[in-house]
Amino acid sequence: MVNKFICPQCSSQTALSIAPPLMICCSSCGKIFRVDAQKNATETALQKSVQPVKTITLGATGVYNKEKFEIVGLLRRVSNNAISNEWLMKFTSGREAWLAESGFHYFVFESSPLSFSPALIKGKKVGDPITLGPDEYTIVDLARQVDLRIDGQIPEDSYNDQPFYIYETVRIKQDGFASICIYDKDNAEAFKGVAVRLADLEMSTLSAFSNWM
C-alpha cells in the first residue's frame, strides 16, 4: 500500500513520510489538514509557516550520528521574546527526532518526553537550578508561546498551538539542554537535547552556502 495524501483542496498527491494521525501542509496549495488514523483528512484554519533560513528546507537530507535523515516537517514557534524552528528528522531506520534552532543555535532532541510535574518548577525563575532525572540544570529562559505554524508533515500529538510556557534549561557542568513545557497546572513535559553544529550535520542544502562557510 502506498502511503500517500491526496489534497482534498487541489488533488495534488504527497507521499506520507510519517504515520497518521498527523498534520500535513499541502505542498501545492498550502492548506493544512489533519489526517486521522484512518487517513481521513480534515481541513484546518491553520496557517502555513513562512520559510525560515534556507540552510534547512523540507526534503533536505543530512547525517546525524552516522545515520542519514530527511527533513519532513517544520514547527515554527514564536514566543513573546524569540523564534524557534523545529524540523522533524526522519531517519533511514524509521525513527524520528527533532532538529531545533533557536538564536541560530542548533539542538537535536531524540528521546521521548520525560513526564514532569509542574509543581517542581512552581516559583522557579531564571538562574535557579532544577533537577531532571539524574541531572541538574539551570533555567536560562522563560517564554510564552504566542504563535505556531507548520509546514510539511508532523505528528498530530506534536502540534499544540495553545499558549503555554517554555522553560529553557542548560545542564550544569556538562553539555546538554532541556526544554520544559508547562501546558497547564497539571500537565508538563520535558525534552532533553544536545547541541549540534549545522556544518556537522552534512545538510544537503549547505552546498549553496559556500560563500558563508
Partner: protein, 424 residues
C-alpha cells in the same frame, strides 16, 4: 562602504506604516523585530510581514561606523551587519555601540565598540560557573571586571528577539585578555557571551571602511603588545634561564682549573718595592684564560702586587694588579671583618707557551715580613661572564614585564574590582 549584493540573502523593501519611509530587511522572517530607521517604530517581522508595531525607540542621529547591510569578514568568517544598538550604563554617561552580525551558516555574532576598542562576541550554549569574583569556562578562569545595568539608547536594523526600549539588563563582565565572558540577565533570560578583542585595523580591512573611532586608553580586554603572546614570552624567558643555567653548568664542568704554577715568596724590606722573577712554567691547551692568585699573610694590613705574565718565546706581557687587604676588630660588642687576605684576577685569551712571572710587591713599612704565595690556574670558570650574559638576557623581559604591569593598571582603572587598588 561595502553595500554590495550578498549571496543567499534576499533583501526586501518594507514601508513604515507610521512615517511611510522605506527601509530594507535582510533577515526577513528570521528576525523577530525590525526598526524603522527614520521614526524608530519597532515592528514584528517573524511572519515575514510587518503587521504589528510593538514599541518605539530612538534611532541614531549620526551615521554609524558599520551601516546596515555592510558585508565584512571577521576571523575568516563572512558576516552581514543587520542590527545596531547604542547602549549605556544605566545612570551614567558611559555608552558603547553594539552591531549584530549575521551569517546563515554560523549564525549570529556581535561586535561591540567602546572608546575605539572592538570586541567580537558570540553567544555561548554552555554555562560558565561563577564564584564571587571569578567565572570559569572550558578550564579557563576569567576575573570579574564590572557589574552594571545596561539600557538601550538608540537602535536600528533587525533583531532575532523582541526588541524593548525599556528593558534593562544586569550585566557582569569577566576578563582574561584578550578574551572575556559577559553575562546578561533580564527578568526572563540569562545569556552568556564569549568575546575577544579585535584590532581596529581588522575592522577597517574586514569591512572595508575608511575610518573607525580612534582608540582611547587601554581597552578592557586589549592585549598588551597584540602580536606578542605574554604566555609564550614568559615560557621563552623561563626556557632562556634554563638554557643559561645548563650552559653555566657545562662551562663549570668543562673548565679544567689546573694549577700550573705556585711559588712562595718572602717580601722583606729589602725586596719591598722591587721586582722578583719566578721560575718558569708551561701553559697548555691552546688559547685559554689564566687566573693569577695572590695569597698573603696580611692581618689588619694591606699588600699590593703587580704581576706580569711573560711569554718567554714571544715576549708578550699580561699585567694584573692585585691588592689584598684584610682588617678585623671588635666594636660595640660585635666582631667585624673587612676584605680578604687573598685576591685573584683572570687574564683572558692567553696562548699556550712557556711563561714566567715578574712580581712587583709593595707592603706598608709597618709590616715586617710579608709572605705571599702566587699561583696560576689554567682554564677557570668565570661566573661574572655568565652573570653579564644573564643580565643581558633578562634586560628586555624585565622591561617588558614592567611595561605590562603599567598597562594592566591602566586596563583596570575603570573597574571597581581592580586587583591593583590595594597597591595604590
Amino acid at each position: 562602504m561595502n553595500l554590495k549584493p550578498v549571496p543567499n540573502i534576499e533583501p526586501t523593501t518594507r514601508t513604515c506604516f507610521k512615517c511611510k519611509s522605506s527601509f530594507t530587511s535582510y533577515l526577513n522572517s528570521n528576525a523577530y523585530s525590525i526598526v524603522c530607521p527614520k521614526c524608530g517604530t519597532v515592528y514584528s517581522i517573524y511572519n515575514n510581514v510587518i503587521d504589528k508595531s510593538t514599541d518605539l525607540v530612538k534611532t541614531p542621529r549620526e551615521g554609524v561606523d558599520l551601516p546596515m547591510g555592510t558585508s565584512g569578514t571577521i576571523k575568516g568568517i563572512r558576516y552581514l551587519v543587520t542590527g545596531y544598538m547604542r547602549k549605556n550604563e544605566n545612570g551614567t554617561n558611559y555608552h558603547w555601540d553594539e552591531y549584530t552580525l549575521f551569517n546563515p551558516v554560523h549564525g549570529v555574532a556581535y561586535l561591540s565598540q567602546y572608546d575605539g576598542h572592538w570586541m567580537f562576541l558570540k553567544e555561548l550554549t554552555g554555562l560558565p560557573s561563577t564564584e564571587e569574583k571569578v567565572a570559569r569556562f572550558e578550564g579557563i578562569q576569567y576575573d570579574l571586571y564590572s557589574r552594571y545595568r545596561s539600557k538601550l539608547k538608540t537602535a536600528s536594523g533587525e533583531f532575532i528577539y523582541q526588541l524593548s526600549s525599556t528593558e534593562t539588563a544586569y550585566v557582569e563582565e569577566y576578563i582574561n585578555p584578550p578574551e572575556m565572558l559577559s553575562k546578561e540577565r533580564t527578568a526572563d533570560n540569562i545569556t552568556w557571551y564569549k568575546g575577544e578583542y579585535i584590532q581596529p585595523e581588522d575592522i577597517k580591512s574586514g569591512f572595508e571602511v575608511l575610518t573607525v573611532p580612534a582608540r582611547k586608553g587601554v581597552g578592557m580586554i586589549q592585549p598588551f603588545m597584540a602580536k606578542f603572546n605574554s604566555d609564550v614570552f614568559r615560557q621563552l624567558v623561563i626556557l632562556l634561564i634554563v638554557f643559561w643555567g645548563l650552559s653555566q653548568l657545562y662551562f663549570l664542568q668543562s673548565a679544567s682549573e689546573e694549577i700550573v704554577f705556585q711559588q712562595d715568596f718572602n717580601i722583606s724590606d729589602s725586596t719591598n718595592k722591587k721586582e722578583i722573577f719566578s721560575k718558569s712554567f708551561d701553559l697548555k691547551h691552546g688559547l685559554s684564560n689564566a687566573e693569577v692568585k695572590l695569597n698573603t699573610n696580611v692581618s689588619n694590613n694591606w699588600m699590593y702586587c703587580a704581576v706580569t705574565l711573560v711569554n718567554e718565546k714571544t715576549g708578550d706581557l699580561y699585567n694584573v694588579d692585585l691588592e689584598a687587604e684584610y682588617y678585623f676588630g671588635y666594636e660595640g660588642g660585635e666582631s667585624w671583618t673587612e676584605g680578604s687576605n687573598w685576591v685573584s684576577k683572570v687574564v683572558s685569551s692567553v696562548p699556550e707557551g712557556r711563561y714566567y712571572l715578574i712580581i712587583y710587591s709593595e707592603k706598608p713599612t709597618s709590616m715586617k715580613n710579608a709572605y705571599i704565595t702566587v699561583s696560576v690556574t689554567r682554564d677557570v670558570y668565570i661566573f661574572s661572564n655568565g652573570l653579564i650574559v644573564l643580565i643581558l638576557l633578562l634586560a628586555y623581559p624585565v622591561f617588558y614585564f614592567y611595561r605590562k604591569n603599567a598597562f594592566e593598571k591602566k586596563r583596570w582603572y575603570n573597574s571597581n574590582y581592580s586587583p591593583y587598588d590595594d597597591e595604590d
